[in-house]
Symmetry: C2
Subunit: 150 residues, 2 copies
């Protein structure tokens, strides 16, 4: 039996999609504890913010999100989610449309993200988040069948 | 039985690392056929070059590497490979030190890459390559234990 208090503070995600929703909800709320509850707490966790270095381990990842959330919340609209699941591993690749508000008003920045989730006795958790700014043409996502050329 | 000619032209990679070596060997050689032999040929393949859009499917990926190789070969030194394998899926995250030669001489560009490999009856193949330029500080990879602060 899990004590009610622990169950309340330690969410168990029953699917990769649940974990992914919690990840972006935590971004939108700027909630550091909710964010870190999504991540595996081992040293295998890897996070790459757009243009940033590779962060390895939960502590370095926590510090990065702490800094990000000091600057405000991050509103992400997810488009083009491509999800693959192989047993206890799930790989999601998607485009994050991030609204950035500054002196010039609100602009949308497109970021391509790869998210990897693994399942353990603690449910599905994020093991890797790799995000990179896409170029201006990324609205025209190149998605074609892999058939032969004409 | 696989005919000898087909066996010669269709390499079977017996491990994710074998497939990864073949991927970077193909980059170094500018060999498009060797490159595409590494990739799964389904529509699930996803490739993101640094700063580029998301490419989906083998045909779009082939065209991108064809363009890259028209510009020359790509010499990559891999450092800090972190490899995770869960059954028939392997996730490698690494830093690519790419030598770029131009008018100002040879410079090294650091790129963080996530490579995903899947195993099928055709051996291990690349399903995803996500590469993004890292910032200037990436030599100081942030890699700390995930224990408590202090």
């Amino acid at each position: 039996m899990i004590p009610a208090t622990e169950a309340m503070t330690t969410p168990l995600f029953s699917s990769p999609t649940d974990a992914e929703h919690a990840f972006y909800d935590a971004m939108a709320a700027g909630d550091l504890e909710a964010m870190m509850a999504v991540w595996t707490d081992g040293d295998e966790a890897v996070c790459v913010h757009p243009g940033g270095p590779r962060l390895v381990g939960a502590q370095a990842i926590r510090e990065s999100f702490s800094e990000i959330f000091e600057g405000g919340t991050v509103q992400v609209e997810r488009v083009g989610v491509r999800a693959y699941r192989h047993g206890d591993v799930a790989i999601h690749n998607l485009v994050e449309e991030i609204s950035v508000t500054g002196r010039m008003g609100t602009q949308t920045v497109s970021v391509v993200a790869t998210n990897v989730y693994v399942k353990s006795s603690r449910g599905w958790q994020m093991m890797l988040h790799h995000a990179a700014t896409a170029d201006a043409d990324d609205e025209d996502e190149i998605e074609r069948p892999s058939g032969p050329l004409h």
